[in-house]
């Protein structure tokens, strides 16, 4: 029983770690607590849901307008950077917005195979992260930090409530709707059996006292593969070196010929994509997707990032796992109504007692 609950903790912890990495990367590079990161996690889940199930025309239009706006912002910024011509940038932005908006609208109405909608949703969430940085954070880069932090809260508020306007405040599940048949792993499953059921009830991997559903295995493998990939990216590639350089000293990085804006955009894109993957996986695992899901997950993940030492990527991974296991132990000891409090207690006590976190050697800069 204990082993089983610990496995649950590790599964949730892997998801927290994926989200926490996004907080920690952004904090490392621009020293901002990106309050909107939890909303990106939520949008990832919703976009995947909207593309996989048959949406109502209203929801499809909402999702399409949203995606179009993102495409406009990102395309405008990239083209303006390259060409320096505003009319051209707006033209490209409009074209991109129309193309992506129509694609999303069609996809939402027609239902898309799950693997495709998964990748599309992750891409859209990455664009959301980049667009937030361009619109809200970049103009404030030289302002006092209080301004950027308040802006981040504003962004989170707008995004969360916009999701309620588009998808309503109720719980959504992949199971409840008429999802694309690709959600079913095997064609000969009885009618109405979902991906979720297939993965959680249909197949188990047995190992001693443990039994692991396929979905849990899927989450663990995906999360660990992505984190390993991120670690290699940051430590072994030229891009990773540029990211570390920007985190250390942006002026010096610029002098070395690094396009700092581009590196920051890529950081936001990677962090947001990982967050969206976590959102979709948790949405499948818990079988509930709702506009407020990003708030709590965001808090947990942020606690995990603080626990590991904010700005420290391996620290965020370890912090996520520790927090997930701690919460599952709270459930084991029948303290489940206090299990959310563990995140806050961990956060507060780590900040007070060891602000650098478990893995951090360097103290936060005093400013």
């Amino acid at each position: 029983m204990l082993a089983q609950i610990l496995l649950l903790g590790v599964t949730m912890g892997a998801a927290y770690a994926l989200i926490a990495v996004g907080y920690t990367m952004v904090y490392g590079i621009i020293e901002l607590i990106n309050f909107a990161h939890g909303e990106i996690y939520m949008y990832g889940a919703f976009m995947c849901l909207a593309l996989t199930i048959a949406s109502t025309p209203y929801q499809a239009a909402g999702a399409a307008l949203f995606a179009g706006a993102l495409a406009w912002v990102v395309a405008f910024d990239r083209v303006l950077e390259r060409s320096g011509s505003k009319p051209l940038a707006h033209g490209c932005g409009l074209a991109a917005a129309l193309a992506l908006g129509l694609a999303v609208y069609g996809g939402c109405l027609a239902r898309i195979p799950f693997p495709v909608s998964f990748l599309l949703a992750v891409g859209l969430a990455a664009m959301l992260g980049v667009a937030i940085e361009i619109v809200a954070y970049r103009p404030l880069r030289d302002s006092p930090r209080l301004t950027a932090l308040i802006t981040a809260i504003g962004v989170s508020l707008v995004l969360q409530n916009l999701a309620q306007v588009i998808w309503s405040a109720e719980n959504h599940t992949f199971r409840k709707y008429d999802a694309h048949p690709s959600l079913f792993l095997r064609q000969n499953m009885p009618e109405g059996t979902s991906f979720w059921q297939t993965l959680t009830e249909g197949h188990y991997l047995q190992g001693g006292p443990l039994s692991m559903s396929l979905l849990q295995a899927f989450i663990l493998v995906t999360a660990f593969a992505l984190m390993l990939g991120l670690h290699l990216l940051v430590t072994r590639t030229k891009l990773g070196m540029a990211m570390r350089a920007c985190a250390q000293d942006q002026v010096a990085a610029r002098l070395m010929g690094i396009d700092v804006n581009r590196v920051i955009s890529i950081t936001f894109a990677i962090g947001s994509a990982l967050g969206a993957v976590a959102g979709i996986l948790v949405g499948l695992y818990r079988d509930e997707i709702k506009p407020t899901m990003g708030y709590q997950a965001g808090v947990f993940a942020f606690s995990a990032a603080v626990l590991g030492g904010i700005g420290n990527i391996p620290g965020a991974m370890v912090g996520g796992l520790v927090l997930g296991v701690a919460q599952s132990l709270a459930i084991y000891w029948e303290l489940s109504e206090w299990s959310t409090g563990i995140a806050y207690l961990v956060m507060i006590s780590v900040i007070i007692l060891r602000p650098a976190g478990l893995m951090g050697a360097q103290l936060p800069r005093k400013s």
Binding site: L146, N161, G341, I352, R365
Partner: protein, 348 residues
């Protein structure tokens, strides 16, 4: 630039003058019950209550420049403390009010002393976690707070044998106005005191302030305790006025709402903060789906087309837009405006 800053600094620490503007405002506010409209009075009570809360938060975020994301935690502590003192221990409201404020100050000191030595971001996060813990405790400590179903039938204040009634809000309105006037008076005195000047110095430049002999941690903790005391006082009033308490009145979104008032009015500016609170409370009424539907019905907009979450989108957008284009607020404090102008100059 330096000359302008020097002048502003002198202006804020000038000798005490009678605040004619404030007296006129309170006198005008005292005339509101003459309308006899109890809906209007209810809105007025909320505007005064949120002004008190926003002025309290303004000590931390406006005067000291530290973001407090869990201010509503103290509001909740004050509200539940007053409810427990009045109902469980059968004490009068006039005892519960100062007790709640003192408890708020105590918690402010206990939370502030270890955390205020950290950087601003970490402080913001600790306060946020604290307010979430307050909610969790009010929900689960059933023997004292009556748990997730809320605290029912809280006693009303009794003044010289007259019992305040919820359905006749005039008495509550004058109580709120009295507490509001007290808060404004304290804030004005704090602003022009040695303490206020120390806070402004900390906000402008911590290192310079420390070099001038200001005990950073001590002054910040004192500010946090005073802010918490006003939050808890507001909570005690709210407990008695609303008659029931539910944890959902103390969520993070309320903290953001109060922050929004401070930011919109002007960080550090007392008249600005009051203006921001009044504007947002009125806007909150206007953006209620049923009021909005009634207003837009003549234009042919169906009620079903009005989303219920509109007001939070508006608040979020307000935070973003204010920070981008008018970070010093609608009615800025002179030093803050000069500071932001200088930031803009150096940025260019």
């Amino acid at each position: 630039m330096t000359q302008r800053k020097g002048k502003a600094a002198r202006g804020s620490s000038g000798a005490w003058r009678a605040p004619w503007g404030w007296l006129a405002f309170v006198a005008a506010a005292a005339c509101l019950p003459l309308t006899g409209n109890s809906y209007l009075l209810g809105v007025g009570i909320y505007a005064l209550l949120f002004s008190i809360l926003a002025m309290g938060l303004n000590i931390m975020t406006g005067f000291c420049g530290l973001l407090d994301l869990g201010y509503v935690g103290f509001y909740g502590i004050g509200a539940y403390a007053a409810a427990v003192v009045m109902n469980t221990h059968e004490l009068s409201f006039w005892v519960a009010l100062p007790l709640a404020a003192a408890l708020g100050a105590l918690w402010g000191t206990m939370l502030g002393a270890p955390t205020l030595r950290l950087t601003g971001d970490y402080f913001a996060i600790v306060t946020f976690g604290f307010s979430e813990l307050v909610i969790l405790i009010t929900r689960n400590w059933t023997s004292v707070t009556k748990g997730a179903r809320g605290f029912p039938d809280i006693h009303k204040p009794v003044l010289f044998g007259y019992e305040f009634v919820r359905f006749n809000p005039t008495a509550f309105y004058f109580l709120a106005l009295a507490l509001f006037s007290l808060t404004v008076f304290v804030m004005l005195r704090l602003e022009s005191s040695r303490l206020g000047r120390a806070w402004f110095a900390i906000r402008e430049d911590e290192i310079a302030a420390e070099a001038c002999g200001i005990n950073l941690r001590g002054y910040k903790t004192l500010g946090f305790a005073i802010a918490a005391a006003f939050g808890a006082m507001g909570g005690a009033f709210y407990a008695s006025f609303s008659g029931t308490l539910h944890w959902s009145a103390f969520t993070f979104s309320e903290s953001v709402l109060i922050l929004c008032m401070v930011v919109m009015g002007g960080l550090g500016s007392i008249p600005g903060v009051v203006l921001g609170s009044c504007l947002l409370v009125v806007m909150q009424e206007g953006l209620r789906p049923q009021n909005l539907a009634a207003a837009l019905a003549p234009l042919g907009v169906p009620a079903s087309a009005i989303p219920g979450e509109l007001r939070w989108i508006v608040y979020g957008a307000l935070l973003i837009l204010m920070m981008r284009w008018r970070p010093a607020g609608l009615w800025p404090q002179k030093n803050v405006a000069a500071e932001f102008a200088e930031e803009a100059d150096t940025a260019q």
